[in-house]
């Protein structure tokens, strides 16, 4: 096998690209989950919201011919499904985990049915217009930098911007303070004259919008079509990244990028096709999952928001 220095350098660039591509949906969905859980509503339905976002983005992009409209539709659809989740768990004080399971079931069934209705396909829908990549001409030919950042989806930039914005909103605005206190001690927030249910509802809808954006990235930027159950468990990994990242924006970014890196590494190994390693690719795939378990059990105890998982009732008994 010929290995010149240039190829190795490009491999590094390629690894960075793969990491960015894999981590973007994870970070976005994890941020979504963060808003919801910091406000006190468990959202295991991220997977479902991503799926419906991916589907709507592809469908609208295909029907209207404009990928940006598709992106908006994906965000909107995720938000709409999240509103249903919020209606069940915030307005009607239902069980949040059960509702999340329902959201996932509904979304997986609904998007597969609609795949048949819209494109008359079983597995993968027709090709749709995608969001054009941002090309930075001057650095395109520099080995590592050019391969990594020369041609990048705008949603990756949006992801970094969203992390910064979430940090600002959560820690430096009144709304962020309300979200945080609604998850820690809702009765204190209530006694300050703020409607806890409103804050939670908004936070859950934000979480759906971000998950929808993550899904839209998959279907109209990363790929160019909607595939049956195309999120393939990314919502759950995002949930793990959220817990791994200790419910903070920066933590979500780091944990999501880490998981993305492991996936990118596995892709790189797959492409390199090293004879000995290919046999154990499944174990490389297992790595993120095992690491999460080890991290949760051994290294550090994650501290969830105190009131997460319980509906807030004014003057509750006890």
């Amino acid at each position: 096998m010929m290995q010149s220095g240039n190829v190795t350098l490009d491999l590094l660039g390629w690894l960075i690209t793969a990491t960015l591509q894999w981590s973007t949906p994870l970070v976005l969905a994890a941020l979504g989950g963060m808003f919801s859980e910091r406000s006190g509503v468990v959202n295991i339905g991220l997977e479902g919201m991503m799926l419906i976002g991916a589907f709507s983005a592809a469908a609208v992009s295909g029907l209207t011919g404009s990928a940006w409209l598709g992106l908006l539709a994906g965000i909107g659809a995720g938000g709409l499904l999240a509103a249903v989740h919020a209606l069940v768990c915030v307005t009607f004080k239902g069980n949040q985990i059960v509702s999340g399971a329902g959201v996932i079931l509904f979304a997986s069934g609904f998007t597969t049915v609609m795949l048949k209705v819209v494109w008359n396909q079983q597995g993968v829908g027709n090709q749709v217009p995608t969001i054009p990549d941002v090309v930075i001409q001057p650095i395109l030919n520099i080995p590592v930098l050019g391969t990594a950042f020369g041609r990048v989806s705008p949603i990756i930039y949006i992801m970094f911007f969203t992390v910064a914005l979430s940090y600002y909103v959560l820690y430096h605005t009144p709304f962020g303070l309300r979200v945080r206190s609604s998850g820690e001690d809702p009765s204190a927030l209530d006694s300050a004259g703020v409607n806890v249910d409103h804050i939670r509802f908004i936070a859950v809808v934000i979480s759906g919008c971000l998950s929808g954006l993550a899904g839209a990235y998959l279907s109209i930027s990363f790929l160019n079509a909607f595939g049956k159950l195309m999120t393939s468990g990314r919502g759950f990994i995002a949930l793990a990244a959220l817990i791994f990242g200790n419910w903070t924006p920066i933590g979500c970014l780091l944990a999501g990028t880490f998981f993305g890196f492991l996936n990118g590494l596995q892709n790189t190994i797959q492409i390199l096709n090293i004879p000995g390693v290919a046999l154990y690719l499944n174990f490389v795939q297992m790595l993120p999952y095992v690491l999460v378990v080890v991290a949760l059990a051994g290294i550090r105890r994650s501290v969830p928001p105190k009131a997460v998982g319980t509906a807030y009732e004014k003057e509750a008994k006890g």
């Binding site: 295991i44 029907l63 249903v84 209606l87 069940v88 768990c89 009607f92 004080k93 239902g94 069980n95 949040q96 985990i97 059960v98 509702s99 399971a101 329902g102 959201v103 996932i104 079931l105 509904f106 979304a107 997986s108 069934g109 609904f110 597969t112 049915v113 609609m114 048949k116 209705v117 468990g233 759950f236 949930l239 793990a240 817990i243 046999l279 154990y280 499944n282 174990f283 795939q285 297992m286 999952y289 095992v290 999460v292 378990v293 949760l296 059990a297 051994g298 105890r301 994650s302 969830p304």
Partner: protein, 497 residues
Amino acid sequence: MEQTESPSDVAAPTMMRSLEMWFLEKENAALTWGFWKPIVWAIVSIALSLLVSAVIMILSGYDPILAYTWLLYGILRQPDYVLYFATPLILTGLSVALAFKCGLFNIGAEGQVYLGSMAAAIIGYAIALPIFVHPLVCLAVGAGAGALWGFVPGLLKAYRGAHEVVTTMMLSYTAILFTQWLSTYPLREPGQVQMVPQLPQILSSAMIPKILGSHYLHLGIVLAIASVFVVDFIIKRTVLGYEMRAVGLNRDAAECAGIDPRRNMAIALGLSGALAGLAGSEEILGTYGRFIDHWSPSIGFDGITVAVLGRNHPWGCLLAAVFFGALRAGGTFMNLVARVPIEMVGVIQGLIVLFVAAPRINDWLAKNGVGYPIWIKNNPKVALPNFAALCLAAWSAVLAFGFCAVKGISTTLYVLFLVTAFLGIVAFVTTLSRRGHVLVLNSAIVALWLAIGVLDRLQFGGGTFITSVMVACVGLVISASLAWFSRRETKERRSKS
């Protein structure tokens, strides 16, 4: 709650007494609303979700009446097919429900199913045993493997505080990948040509026989129903079950009462894993005959749905599993004849779970369903325009959905009709709950219908022009009367104060 062990000489009369007590208890329970409420709510949620699914079917161009007819026909035609689908669901449902009883959410039953089925499949083809012993050994090993995979997150939760939702999920993915590796490399059937990796066929002595002359249904159903008895007994009549329930209700209180919550949590998840492993093994031994990579039609995840609908009660799980089995079995017929995709069943299931999650929708329906007519009776002058708005909202929702189902209308009109329909539903709900904003919503509906009518007239043939304008005119009158009444009301209030 606890039955202390009685000496052997008085065992028989005591048992009779306790049986009598048990029946009396059941009889009393059957008379109270607390017993019936969850059942009523389950039926209401099923009805509501069928209704919403029908709307989705209309919107996507399928005929819901045809679909439901064939769904029902499929269920009645092949009851054995129903039970065949229900068999693994009963076991995974029990698995999730048992963990729930101890306050734990076993979201990763799927991985335990895979590991159990892999272990059973290996014993099934690699070791030769006599005919009755072989399946039993396979089942026991499968359940053991599942129990191990449930016990690990149980221990981590109990002694390290690692959240079981995350650990079971992550270990589930790990197990699926591990079985994939086993079936792709070391244990793959020699000379196999199929794309999907699989293990060799299990020996015929390990197969669970089919029963009742059915092509699908096997003895596993008996095992599943027996498990319902066993789990019910464990939860209700043993010290372990009592302690698990106590930990599930209030961990701190249980600890104060001298119950070790850690031990119980670990055991609960272990037992839960054993049940999931059992589900996987009996599917391999009874149906598939070998381990195939990714064989499970997500029976582990469906177990959550079953447990939720069955309210974590063993017998409830049985009923829920049979219900979902019926949906699956009928769904294949629905797919074959009415051409509705089989995934529609998933939509119905998801909606049922969403409705079941929020029992207060039931209370809300009961309150407003009874309260609204009373309100109309008591002050008809204010209520009548409100009632008219309610009727208009319902009518425009139905009408708009109907127009959506018309083949070949333009995309713009389709979207407008869809928005109108949803707005109609929102208006109906707000009007029924007397929340206010009725006037705004009503006016919005009127504006939408006017826009549809004008657009249709100018751009596309004008097929709905007269209907739309008619609805808009009626809405305008209602809006005017609403506005007039609310103004008069505020005037009266002012003059009073």
